[in-house]
Symmetry: C2
Subunit: 215 residues, 2 copies
DNA sequence: AGGGTTTTCGCCTGGCGGGCATAAACTATT
DNA sequence: AATAGTTTATGCCCGCCAGGCGAAAACCCT
């Protein structure tokens, strides 16, 4: 099993480690490991993230897909991929062979894991559009501009903070905390602070074609 | 591995078989089996559907999730669940121990498979709202009324054929064939015949919050 | 020919996404 | 203290779309 671990700083980044053992020695790959007998899949994934790359603050963890893999030369086994979202501000102290890489300029990764990263990015883009998935990438409290920056890093195009706040606010997913930020060095009106109301995934528009009856 | 096989007649139905061997002998469960060494997961799923329950005309096949399972008393293994959609009109000839059951009145199923059926139904409901997933449940050609019946069977509430045709038509997912149906025994205006333009899954509204720039 | 039935077309309305201009609030400079 | 520059917030407006409703169209049966 392995995980596409994503976080947002200035760019969208994913966690890679350099393998120290065969197969694919000295090459980059997704962090992961094996499942122990009797262990649940999600439990095993959290164990690997904590033990091997020091990641304990996981905002959201979700299974991507499973497929038969031939990553090990003499072994046939099943490979389960996960998507893990790390909130901004959580700075895990990584082991020396592990580092963040912007998803737009990835090094060559082993085992065809580049495809898994691509699919994870695609899935995240979709989820941002119809859910509150950003709660797992944003810090606990933030301004609308900071939240829009998170969206822009994932989606790849400009997002209006005004509209973002209105849409998420109308769906009841976002609420002001009442606090304000001090203005930056360049001045400007202080920004209001916001926070997500729920920290689980909520699909905001289950209906696109037709609404269920009102009662 | 196992599959939640869904089709629509008057109701939404799923395929169950009565197990002839331990474990859970003589109880209902989802059809499935084991994966062979070197086999792809999707290939194995199609093989089981064809060989064991005679289902070859699969409109859409999609992985639901994997989890560690203790279905077999002395064995620890991984269980992969699939969702399979069968188009209306395809009438597979089932083996004697296999039959369709309306999802609203299921018998007791073994291995906790009732939860998998529930999750599959939920997922299908969502997909109908923001994709052309109905192409895998509807017959090749149909009237708007017949298509609305498919939606109603899955969603559980009334759907307007007029609005359905307008929405899917605007997204370019639906097109009239030019043909017409003869009126029913009770008379009425003959209905125009429609067909889906694409037979792969297309997500019709990737953006709910903000649209990408126009160029 | 006429009544009953089903589909189709057209109109209308409320709501929402999204752009834009203006106001508000702050910093730095003179 | 006044002004310029910068950033955020608010309000207004427009266009599009989902969805409801009524009227017309097209067919069956008596």
């Amino acid at each position: 099993m392995n995980a596409v671990v994503l976080r947002v700083t200035d760019r969208l980044e994913t966690l890679l480690w350099r393998r120290s053992r065969p197969p694919a020695e000295d090459r980059w790959s997704l962090p992961g490991g094996f499942v122990r007998q009797g262990e649940s899949l999600e439990g095993a994934m959290r164990r690997h993230l904590a033990e091997k790359v020091g990641v304990t603050d996981v905002g959201h963890l979700e299974q991507l897909d499973s497929h038969s893999a031939d990553t090990h030369p003499e072994l046939w086994l099943l490979d389960v991929s996960y998507l893990a979202l790390i909130p901004r501000g959580a700075e895990p102290h990584l082991p020396p062979d592990t580092s963040w890489h912007p998803v737009e300029e990835l090094p060559t990764v082993a085992f065809g894991h580049a495809g898994a990263i691509e699919r994870a990015h695609e899935r995240l883009r979709g989820k941002l559009s119809y859910s509150n998935a950003a709660f797992a990438l944003a810090p606990p409290r933030f301004t609308l501009r900071e939240l829009a920056d998170v969206y822009e890093a994932v989606l790849g195009y400009a997002v209006s903070p005004t509209n973002l706040g209105r849409v998420l606010g109308r769906d009841g997913l976002l609420a002001p905390t009442g606090g304000h930020r001090r203005a930056g060095a360049a001045g400007g009106r202080p920004a209001a602070e916001f926070a997500f109301t729920r920290r689980e995934l909520v699909v905001s528009r289950p209906l696109a074609a037709f609404k269920p009856p009102e009662n």
